[in-house]
Symmetry: C2
Subunit: 335 residues, 2 copies
């Protein structure tokens, strides 16, 4: 036979299509006799309902999209994001939604892919990964204008008209700095890849705030804005820091520079990295980091998106998650 339809199942089970549909959607008496019979037929025949027909009739796709403007060069953060994506998939599943990931790239590629993805009834809503630190992205505005239910993963630059779920980089910096201070470190170096990044800005702000609270003067020489962790570390070393705070993705470069400079970690210099990447467990010494609660963030993203789908985009939801300090050898707290 070519392929089965719900009508075939109905006929085989001796009931109406409506009834089969109800069984499929669990809106029928739990221990009904018919229910069992229908389920048996479905099982035996290997019937799979037609997705398009279901969506068209029910006016819901049960499909959420995750848009990744994927500059593959942002490798380490992508990796962190992949874990988040897995959590989002699970959270969606629990709510009866499937999560489709789209690597839409940028520029022309992106603009070719978007019309397909934003067709009516294709996805019920979109989660958009914003690369913090890449300035304002027209993508969000473009999607908002289409009226697609939308939530950002990460804090978008620019006006805050988009709902988002993000990690608290500011608070994370605060926690990390406080930790280093409590370990007796006073000359804490800070490496930031770029100040344009919201994350970068938050880190510097958090840094200044904590020192101010403790009445410690900020030595401007200890703050370096540079994309190359190796060079940044080299230039920092001449100012004799006793601790360093930097993006975990820079860990290899930083450690390299320290080795060449004859500085031991954590004895001479305590280290804390942002982002609890797998890499953090592989370095020598293993790197103390700030960890984002990815599972909780994934769930929240899904819940907010479903809320927007059902109740509209207003009011705008902004949710920030605190980061957790994960202590390993590099900060010296374990010795």
């Amino acid at each position: 036979m070519s392929h089965l339809t719900l009508a075939d199942i109905a006929k085989a089970a001796g009931v109406s299509p409506s009834t089969v549909s109800r069984v499929l959607n669990n809106q029928i008496g739990e221990r009904s006799k018919v229910r069992a019979r229908i389920l048996k037929v479905i099982e035996e025949t290997g019937f799979r309902p037609h997705a398009a027909a279901q969506s068209l009739a029910s006016r819901r796709a049960n499909n959420l999209g995750l848009l990744v403007p994927a500059p593959v060069w942002q490798v380490f953060n992508q990796l962190y994001f992949l874990q988040l994506a897995q959590h989002i998939t699970q959270a969606g599943q629990e709510q009866g939604y499937l999560l489709s990931l789209f690597l839409i790239g940028s520029g022309a590629d992106q603009q070719k892919l978007l019309p397909q993805i934003t067709r009516q009834g294709f996805v019920d809503g979109l989660i958009v990964r914003v690369m913090e630190g890449i300035g304002e992205d027209p993508l969000l505005a473009q999607l908002a204008q289409l009226g697609v239910p939308l939530v950002a993963s990460g804090r978008p630059a620019g006006p805050e008209q988009t709902s988002y779920v993000a990690a608290d980089n500011y608070g994370g910096a605060h926690t990390a700095l406080t930790h280093l201070l409590s370990l007796g470190r006073r000359r804490i170096g800070l490496i930031v890849g770029s100040m344009e990044a919201p994350g970068g800005h938050a880190r510097v702000t958090g840094y200044r705030k904590v020192l101010a609270e403790r009445g410690i003067a900020v030595d401007e020489q200890l703050i370096v804005v540079h994309e190359n962790g190796y060079l940044a570390t080299q230039s920092l070393l001449q100012f004799k820091p006793d601790a360093l705070f930097f993006a975990t993705s820079m860990a290899l470069d930083v450690l390299q520079a320290l080795r060449e400079g004859g500085a031991r970690a954590p004895e001479d210099i305590a280290l804390v990295g942002f982002d609890d990447l797998p890499l953090a467990r592989q370095t020598d010494p293993p790197l103390t980091t700030m960890r984002q609660p990815l599972a909780a963030m994934g769930q929240r993203l899904v819940h907010i998106l479903l809320d927007i789908i059902e109740n509209g985009p207003t009011p705008v939801r902004h949710v920030t998650f605190e980061e957790e300090l994960v202590i390993r050898r590099s900060c010296g707290a374990l010795s």
Copy 2:
């Protein structure tokens, strides 16, 4: 208004729905007057066709799925795979198909997600990422039984009933070994994470083959099967290798062990890694690697899948791509 349909556009443009549909699908005279008029109306109103309705009527979803049984711990290879996924997205786009990525996890998660993904008319076909080195996966058999058009990315373990596109690990090993031999290295150590991995097996086979061709006796002590690159390197060092060949994901561990053992690379020991991960450019020294032609592989995956969708699963297609040697400092060829 609530939302636009094709009929609305037809009315506004003063034509029939059929005509609008034809314009949407580019089956109408290029410089037709009506065409321009309709396009204008679509533009002005921001009409987006309904995906489910299109799929239902045309019996094609224009959607390809990429299944990733994502054990996130396989981080580095996942990363390599993300690049491939981006290429697949582009290749699909060129053929008019959208690529949806599904992180289906394993076990119970996987079995909950699959029914949704394999509903009729949801995707036209699936590309399945097989994790080489994880033994036989029932997933492929399960999908094949459903009759879903299917192609594997990577060479599946077990009977070869599934079409696949894979990199030639065997040939890659051959190329790398030949290169090291041409540089005068004779005691080449080989580290393999696991022999169960098809990739692992191919590497060992390639290794033996090349040495045999050159009439060089194989020193079994130079072949180490161990998941921990650090320990593997340590144990290898006592047998005085002058070169090492290992998975790039182990690079940090290997380099660490070499440093501690007082061996310099590439002077004392030349290094070549499998897989041209971004990491290869960040190590010290930068790592010579074997690179897979990801763009070509992505295109081939899409073409084969479309072929299977149109012409059925037989005959089974097996395509293997040669790997390319990327020379950096670690092999000593640049000095």
